[in-house]
């Protein structure tokens, strides 16, 4: 039967062709399998945050969510173990301005950020800023309004609100904050403006203070988030590297439950630099 089959020239050609096709298919499979292995190897050498992004994109609700999660994870990793000798640690702050209170003054003193200006001071609040309070910036006392006229900034971070927690009229705070955003965006149209949300106080402080507690901070942050959306600017939450499992400021980071020490000022700044890149 087989002899008859092979004796047919047509069948013999068909079989030869079939064998060649099989060999070709096997070769192609082997080739792509090899490439695939190479890809897997190269993926293992990619930075962790890219790998995490790939993983996050698989499980999150869309790519954008995955990317944001990835950036936060990347920022957290950097903040948890900051490489203070890295000359590019604060590249994101090049030409930036921070407007803030005593907490921001801590960042100025202790974080090692040298490529940004700080318009900050103890007891600073939106009302004082709008009324032309002066602060020593670069060795000269200046109001924010004059500073915004004199210099051009790439980014402006507004980090106010903790000293306003005791204000009885919350709408006044929101309106004043909105006016401040308007002043900044009008004076610096090319700058990226960020509303920095308040990071929490410690559990001990929160449980013992009628004003400076995390319930009031949450309410304030909700207002600021909504205001930022209305004004078309971004809001940033600096708290992840600073808080414990309960969402309160870590006890080891603070003496009074509100202000943070140098170690955590660095974590704060590194995290902010990453999430605002």
């Amino acid at each position: 039967m087989l002899n008859v089959f092979f004796e047919n020239r047509f069948n013999a050609r068909y079989i030869m062709l079939l064998i060649l096709v099989i060999i070709l298919v096997l070769a192609v499979i082997a080739h792509f399998k090899g490439v695939g292995l190479d890809l897997e190897d190269s993926q293992e050498q990619l930075p962790d945050f890219v790998m995490e992004q790939l993983a996050a994109d698989d499980v999150e609700d869309g790519i954008r969510v995955g990317v944001e999660t990835t950036i936060q994870k990347w920022a957290m990793a950097a903040a948890e173990d900051p490489d203070v000798d890295d000359p590019h640690l604060y590249d994101a702050f090049e030409g930036a301005l921070f407007i803030g209170d005593s907490r921001t003054e801590g960042m100025k003193f202790y974080s090692g950020v040298e490529n940004a200006d700080f318009f900050s001071g103890k007891s600073m609040n939106v009302d004082k800023v709008l009324k032309g309070a002066t602060v020593n910036v670069g060795g000269q006392d200046t109001s924010l309004q004059d500073l915004l006229k004199k210099k051009t900034y790439t980014k402006v971070y507004i980090c106010l609100g903790i000293n306003e927690l005791g204000w009885t009229n919350k709408d006044t705070f929101t309106e004043s904050y909105g006016t401040l955003i308007d002043q900044v965006t009008q004076a610096q149209p090319d700058a990226e403006v960020f509303v920095e949300l308040l990071f929490p106080v410690s559990s001990k402080k929160s449980g013992s203070d009628k004003v400076f507690n995390n319930t009031n901070i949450k309410k304030c942050n909700d207002r600021l988030t909504k205001l930022a959306e209305e004004k078309g600017v971004k809001s940033l939450d600096p708290s992840p590297p600073l808080v414990d499992n309960n969402g309160a400021l870590k006890a080891e980071a603070t003496a009074d439950g509100v202000h943070i020490n140098s170690e955590y000022c660095v974590k704060w700044a590194v995290y902010m630099a990453r999430i605002s890149m």
């Binding site: 003054e105 003193f109 001071g121 007891s123 020593n136 003496a255 009074d256 202000h259 020490n261 140098s262």
Partner: protein
């Protein structure tokens, strides 16, 4: 007669020695003890930090930031070390040293800068944390050799004792 002359000379020498060890309250050590001015600003500031009671985290600040804040010409400063608190308190340690050639002009300037800093802090803390005014109203500012030291803490006497211990050890 010789005995009388010898006696007078001994009395004169006693008075002379007493006169030499008198006065110079600022920056002097304990009587009869050699005073050590051979220290770095970091050594003295660190000693104060270790031996004086502070309620807040005390942490070293970059000198350029300090000169800018104090309004001091940094190029005239030979050595300095400053600790600030987290902002929760007004506590502060600063040691600023100048070269002997600049001492006449600079020590006065540093003294003025320290006093100006205290005034600024009083203004800041008056509505912020009024309890800190007790410290700010009684700061320790003293000259030691070619250095000026400022300490803002609960107990300036404790700070002064620590400084004298440091330079006399």
């Amino acid at each position: 007669m010789k005995k009388l002359i010898v006696g007078i000379m001994i009395v004169m020498m006693v008075f002379a020695v007493t006169a030499c060890s008198d006065g110079g309250d600022e920056g002097s050590g304990t009587e009869g003890t050699a005073v050590n001015y051979d220290f770095t600003a970091a050594e003295l500031a660190g000693y104060i930090n270790d031996n004086v009671t502070f309620n807040d985290f005390m942490e070293e600040v970059d000198p350029e930031t300090v000169y800018e804040l104090y309004g001091i010409d940094g190029s005239a400063v030979e050595d300095s070390c400053t600790y600030f608190s987290t902002g929760a308190t007004a506590e502060e340690i600063s040691v600023i040293s100048v070269s002997p050639e600049n001492a006449d002009s600079m020590l006065g300037e540093i003294n003025r800068a320290f006093n100006s800093r205290i005034e600024d802090q009083i203004e800041s803390f008056t509505d912020y944390v009024p309890a800190e005014l007790d410290k700010l109203n009684d700061p320790l500012i003293m000259e030691i050799g070619n250095s000026v030291v400022m300490v803002v803490c609960d107990d300036p006497d404790q700070a002064k004792t620590a400084i004298l211990d440091f330079i006399n050890q």
